[in-house]
Symmetry: C2
Subunit: 640 residues, 2 copies
């Protein structure tokens, strides 16, 4: 039997609804039928084969279109990230029209959760539509409607939570079952697919809806949507904190681009948008209580985030299963926006702003550091914190604490006098750590007042977290430490042993566009390699398991202490124009690592990764290409 | 005198037209006046300064807005590439409304050239509009029209050429003169700016129009367009061949994205779009005479270039000063699209297609090579060449000749028998070079028949161009060699001494996204560094002077022999979604090197480069960010 015959058998089987057959007739006029089909080949995956060639042993031609094969060939279909707990999927498909998916029942403890679920379902339908070529979208419904396959979705949610917190349960169950009508009941619909989603929280249910969107796909050959007829998935994440850091100070990123980043995060089940809102370079955050910060600090009146922008983004993220964690980095990494202190009679709020030679005072131009002995800064900080709490309402807050250089403080008489008055006359490292701790404690007080509780605080690894400092200066019950050293740095083991909770962003794997930026040229000077070169491929991102990092220190892995991880994209050499391609699909590799944390390596994931990248592009994300499309058409043939 | 006072003086001076003052009132409602202005600072450039601070020595506040300062602070304004011959620019500005630029006279020898010029002028007006924020575009003309500054453009072209060829003269002269109306003539327009463009060819005139577009800019603060009042520029390119190679086989690049690439090339005065149309991976070129090639070889029926697409692109490129040079790479780098030979009773057209293990037969998966002893291939090639000539009508043709691996030929009995029949029984390197030369000569015959003349042929450096081979197998009067080895490779010196014309694409500087792609991870395997790592920053692209490469071989530089250069972006790891950010602004660095070939280094160009990148983004090109925007606001402060 040659492949051509099987191909038609396959088409008829798939095209159980009338839509598919209709659609086949709608291919581009004049285009000849393709000579190619796809075989699910043992040991490889979906492979392009000529329809007129004999079927090879090990080739399954049941679903001979590209989409049909991809959906059914592998155990995990084309799901990304791969479900962690249990997965059982059919090898059979049903064709359907996207307007025939309906949510038939939501069971939830309150109307807010119902409303979020309805919104998530609308988003899902729009996402599905994005995968359909323009020419096929929005076709009119016809009289045949009742004969088309129906997909009915039921959602059942236990908890009334409407904000994603570290304690939120994100697990879900997804059951899909299709009943085909028999010839004996011709008046009934051709088939009915029941989808049942159960989850503890809205956030789990939303993940289930995302998973559902990935067991369906547009089929170019058939001109129809396809979906697995049956599926049973139980799923939950390995880590609670699965994030991306976006820096909007070095370069501004517009609100629409931030929305696209959140869209893509939701496709990957990433759940934390860590917003490095401000830095020395610019201050785009419009503080209602301190409007002079953005007036002086924004790159332009248009390059700001107004309170209404942020409120909108927080809701936008929530319905997509993402929480926004703001960072206000201090006492270093400030400058632009703080210039008005003396004009307002408040003294110098920031010191050494734009001071040269910059390498003496900071790690990159321009320099700047807060003046911790000027008490006026604490009232300004209090205002910032209150505004941030009002807008973000996140359950953790990031206080930065990155890269404090003591040279500027050392040269400032106001500072050295303050230290002298406290019996510290040496201007030693210990003296400045004392000053820094004074700043950290004073500003923490303001955070606590602003938030009205003692919520967890994140700090970067820094001088304060070094050996002998962390346990002396920082309370492990208050502080979570975000690691940005290499994954083998001993300070990780130390902090872990001391009982600090950790978020991993070790730069050797998860700084996907770091300053002097990984794998790009330098931006000050002309050197070809920056400090965190080379470019980090998705494979390396994928292999970076926080669990394995801990085990490699000969420590027992304690899930409660390792909250998860974040990929960081600092924006010295990126802005909204190209950020998507630098984030994706590498952030997807991070996502599967943090959601599934599989024991298998990137090779096993490569087919799905390639396919997921194509799906991201279909959904409008400017994800970078990893391989020639030929590799996507010939699974398992692009290996060394 | 403080800066604030100067700022208002400056505004009034600039805002000679009524538009500017109107527009100032139209800034976003509620936004407070910015506390910042810009000083043109000696030894630095445009630097952000507080309006209420005293003027520092060396600071010129004549044009205190960001755009005004940038346009006037440097000798070359913000022109990119920098004019090569003579440049004299005013430090004064006139505000105008884009609808008030008119072309008043075109003097040209034929109507085709006039029509091209009119089209180029319309493109120019659209480009200008792209730089204007949405809210300010398309404002209604008011009764005050006659009072607004008028800009009248006259164009004078000598030659009737309508196709860009290697012999086309691209030089131009641009004169801009503004006459301000005096108080004594209140009824007259406030000012009139006369623009006079003279050029040998349309292509020179188009470059002049591009230059004109770069001495004007939108001013955010004033809410108006600004332009230098006076300018005298004589300009001509250092090299005739200034190109980009785009590969549309490994991954498809859509026609709209190709148009955007051509747009950006036109902003940079790059003039050759080298189209690597086909390769082993896919065959997207729809050959009218051989439609089976794309039927079998395209990734999908939508991922093709139809004759009408190509015709449209060729015209699109021509009016933008760009010629499209097609490459049909052979005998290697073929595969997809050639599978139908045996089905059609024509024997095997391509050998070892998709054969494994691929490292034995080719440099990357999938493998494939033409069967040069099957005479049927020459009729197919003839058809391809005829189609290409019909569509592209370029004055040079690229026959590829890259990376021929002899293993496949060596294992093919049909080939070894053919060699035996010609007394070559050793299957030695020389035997296969003989076969390759047979192929090259036979296919060249078909090219010559198709084109009806003996036009220059480009070949890549390869086994055929190695020491002792080039002069033996290739005619230096017919072949131009495109160099892709490193810039210090001795074969460059050799070919140069032998008298071959050269196009430089040495991969150590101008392979901006090469396969196993420079500075990215590997796509087969997981290694962090590929063969042409690291990522090549714009500085290195900028410093790669073909002239200096030749001089470094202790050779006298002969302008006629070095046609120019190309940056190559192979598409194993890129497609239309991210190609713009990988091409730009690095291709702009290439452009200034090839247009101006300055003796100065990248440091001198950095301010203009930063500004040009912003301009590319304003014009809709997704150019990558090079630095924090802070550096663009503070020229000369982001150096090590």
């Amino acid at each position: 039997m040659d492949r051509k015959f099987l191909f038609f058998i396959g088409l008829l089987f798939i095209a159980d609804g009338v839509i598919a057959r209709e659609a086949v007739g709608q291919r581009q006029p004049g285009s000849q039928e393709s000579p190619w089909a796809w075989a699910c080949r043992t040991g490889r995956g979906c492979v392009k084969v000529a329809k007129d060639s004999p079927v090879e042993q090990g080739d399954d031609m049941s679903n001979p279109t590209l989409s049909g094969c991809k959906l059914t060939c592998n155990t995990e279909s084309v799901l990304w990230p791969k479900p962690r707990d249990a997965i059982s999927l059919s090898k059979t498909l049903v064709a359907f029209h996207p307007t025939d998916i309906r949510i038939s029942r939501i069971s939830a403890p309150n109307s807010e959760v119902k409303s979020l679920t309805n919104e998530a379902f609308l988003i899902f339908r729009n996402v599905i539509r994005k995968g359909i070529p323009e020419a096929f979208r929005g076709r009119k419904q016809t009289a045949r409607d009742q004969q088309r396959p129906q997909i009915e979705v039921q959602v059942s949610i236990v908890s009334g939570e409407t904000r994603l917190e570290m304690t939120t349960e994100e697990s879900y169950n997804l059951h899909v079952k299709t009943i085909f009508a028999t010839a004996a009941t011709p008046a009934a619909p051709r088939s009915t697919t029941s989808v049942s989603i159960t989850a503890m929280s809205f956030f789990g249910a939303r993940h289930a809806i995302e998973t559902l969107s990935q067991i369906m796909a547009w089929d170019d050959t058939l001109g129809s949507m396809l979906m697995l007829t049956d599926a049973n998935i139980s799923d939950s994440p390995a880590f609670v904190h699965r994030g991306l850091l976006i820096d909007t100070s070095r370069n501004y990123v517009s609100v629409p681009v931030i929305k696209k980043i959140i869209d893509a995060m939701s496709y990957d089940k990433l759940n934390v948008f860590h917003w490095h809102l401000t830095d020395t370079h610019s201050f785009p955050f419009v503080s209602t209580r301190e409007p002079r910060l953005a007036l002086y600090g924004a790159y332009s009146p248009a390059k700001v985030y107004r309170p209404e922008d942020i409120k909108e983004l927080v809701h936008y993220a929530t319905v997509r299963g993402v929480k926004i964690v703001p960072e206000f980095d201090a006492p270093a990494h400030v400058g632009s926006g703080w210039e008005w202190g003396e004009r307002a009679g408040m003294g110098q709020l920031a010191l050494c702003v734009n001071k040269e030679p910059w390498p003496t005072y900071c790690v990159e131009p321009p320099c700047g550091i807060l003046n911790p002995v000027n008490d006026n800064i604490y009232s300004v900080l209090s205002n910032i914190y209150q505004d941030m709490n009002d807008l973000f309402k996140s359950d953790i807050f990031h206080m930065g604490g990155d890269e404090v250089n003591f040279s500027c403080w050392n040269e400032t008489t106001e500072i050295t006098n303050w230290l002298k008055a406290r019996g510290r006359k040496d201007n030693s490292k210990e003296d400045f750590l004392y000053l820094w701790t004074h700043f950290q404690n004073r500003s923490l007080e303001e955070v606590d007042k602003a938030y009205g509780n003692k919520q967890p605080i994140v700090l970067w690894t820094s001088g304060l977290t070094e050996e002998g400092h962390a346990d002396k200066y920082l309370d492990k019950e208050r502080y979570i430490i975000q690691i940005w050293t290499t994954g083998t740095d001993q300070s990780i083991a130390q902090l872990y042993r001391q009982g600090f909770k950790l978020i991993m962003s070790n730069y050797d794997a998860w700084y996907v566009g770091k300053y002097f930026d990984c794998g790009y040229g330098q931006w000050v000077g002309e050197g070809p390699n920056n400090w965190c070169s080379p470019y980090i491929g998705w494979q390396k991102v994928y292999e970076n398991s926080p669990r394995k990092l801990i085990v490699n220190f000969n420590e027992t892995f304690n899930q409660k202490q390792i909250l998860g991880g974040e990929a960081a994209i600092w924006s010295e050499q990126v802005d909204g124009t190209t950020i998507e391609g630098k984030l994706w699909p590498r952030s997807s590799a991070l996502a599967e690592r943090l959601w599934t944390d599989p024991d298998t390596n990137w090779r096993v994931a490569e087919h799905r990764m390639n396919h997921h990248r194509e799906r991201l592009v279909q959904r409008g994300i400017q994800a970078d290409a990893l391989q020639p499309e030929w590799c996507h058409h010939n699974d398992g043939y692009c290996f060394l």
